[in-house]
Symmetry: C2
Subunit: 323 residues, 2 copies
């Protein structure tokens, strides 16, 4: 029998545990969970030869979301979604999640239930088991931290570090202006990453969380100091970037390059492979060619006048920028 | 070359990554890490047949520590320590940790470095690789969330759920009054749990984080509604419990039963095994017989006058208690 009125911390844990029991695919070939919520640790059975992927992301009220206007469900969805996006960024398959929360005391129970509801939407779709967590209440703002475990496919995980001069750079969707609302509803590109990984050797892969300039910068750095040339006319600009540009006077291309939280994939691969996939995208996915990797270090943008201008990554630095 | 003056979030990540590279035991038989800090996910190579353990704990300033008086190193130590204690509570071996932080903006960098120093003391001792994390800064108080991965031994993980009527209940150290300062310096009973698990079949195991009454209550509940009888005269009372009793008038035995954050182990096993281990404790560890499991449900305490009184778990409920 499922109770609808959890009391106290242990009541809440029992409430979540009841709801998660159905989701645990113990015994199924795809599930790893041997023991879920309710002990000191969860237990996973990991098949021989598996490369396990681990990622963690923390979201804070007033920084990554606004609880009062957006509500707990949106927070739960985003908190799991951004972590699933990191699994996609390795071309992996998400399997399990643990969730730690600091809940504002006055509404701890109802808020935890909303967060769980938002998280469940993604957990159901992507077959992720919620295997454990830590529930706290305090006088401070809502903080939520999610760790997701996933598996690499037999083709291996795709790192940031394999970009080669001459590679074509692709992105899976239009960019910029996500703060208008899209940043709350990340669409983890799990299926897209797996399909690309199957269709061609991916050299380097990252998800666009900090912004194209900054995240592509990570690829360049990790790939041993190669460079990149982006083509402003080829970068897909989201309608939200145009909308924001009208409000703040910053150009749409700047929004597309620097806003972040697009949660699209940025991929590099050999040009022949890229041409083939652009002509016939796997799963019918959206795919844009935005530039190429160069042996000359640094990031450059060919602007709308055809001039090549150096770009300094200006994506999101959590220690500096405000929201 | 190790830099000593990290700048911004990415500077901090590079600073931590440099320091963690030495700790990563890639290629060694005991390490799981194939890829540490610096990509979208960490990658672990998990040996065939491994049962993987996963646990997470979040600590908040003003709730689990007081940053101003105790400092960042103590916070880092405790944040990793309480998670290692959960691995001990399954008789497992800790391997990897990911850390997410919300840092007060004014001192984000120096605080992150102190936290890392405190964490490193335990990571070094227990050979835990710090494989990833998420660094954030904000106007709120310090929040830190750690997820630890471990391995069960070939004997399997020990759950809370195996207590049998007639089992002897043991604890590994004296209890109560940890708030005086001990709660900041948890000593993860990893070696003790492994030694006990090797010396005798452990039926049920938990670490004392919420308090003996509450944590033993979890064992009783998970073991299908068995009960327990504790002997007040046998419960080892920490000097800190006596000190706190003088201050607040609450009896030392109540402190020992309910304070929590002792991070000692509570173990149940067959009486013959317990007698043997009490006579000759493995590793020369401290070991106390505190009571026994009963078929009659509920938790009872034989008080100092020999009367048997029912006990209602009064351990730490994060949604209710204050610090």
């Amino acid at each position: 029998m499922k109770s609808n009125q959890p009391a106290g911390e242990f009541g809440l844990i029992a409430w979540i545990r009841e709801r998660e029991r159905d989701r645990i695919r113990t015994g199924h070939s795809t599930g790893l969970t041997r023991l879920g919520i309710g002990d000191d640790c969860a237990i996973l059975g990991v098949p021989a030869g598996t490369e396990l992927l681990v990622t963690t992301d923390m979201l804070m009220d007033g920084r990554h979301f606004d609880l009062e206007s957006q509500g707990g469900e949106a927070v739960g969805y985003k908190a799991l979604g951004v972590n699933l996006s990191d699994i996609a960024a390795m071309a992996g398959i998400p399997r399990s999640a643990v969730v730690a929360v600091a809940l504002p005391k006055a509404q701890a129970l109802s808020l935890a239930q909303s967060i769980h509801a938002g998280m469940s939407r993604l957990a159901d779709r992507f077959e992720v088991d919620l295997i454990g967590g830590d529930t706290n209440a305090w006088d401070g703002p809502l903080v939520i931290s999610v760790t997701v475990l996933g598996e690499a496919t037999p083709r291996g995980a795709v790192r940031r570090s394999g970009a080669c001069p001459g590679d074509t750079i692709l992105v899976t969707g239009s960019l910029g202006g996500s703060l208008i609302g899209r940043h709350l509803r990340p669409e983890p590109r799990i299926a897209e990453a797996l399909a690309l990984h199957k269709a061609a050797p991916i050299h380097a892969l990252i998800d666009l969380s900090d912004g194209l300039s900054s995240d592509l910068g990570h690829i360049l750095e990790e790939s041993g100091g190669v460079g990149a040339e982006l083509d402003a006319a080829a970068i897909p600009i989201h309608d939200d970037a145009i909308l924001m540009s009208r409000r703040d006077g910053i150009s749409p291309i700047d929004h597309a390059m620097n806003d972040g939280e697009d949660f699209e994939l940025c991929v590099t691969m050999a040009t022949a492979d890229a041409d083939r996939l652009l002509a016939q995208p796997p799963l019918g996915m959206t795919l844009y060619r935005v530039g190429e990797i160069t042996s000359e270090p640094g990031l450059r943008l060919r602007d709308f006048d055809g001039r090549l201008v150096p770009i300094h990554p200006a994506g999101f630095d959590h220690f500096r920028a405000g929201r």
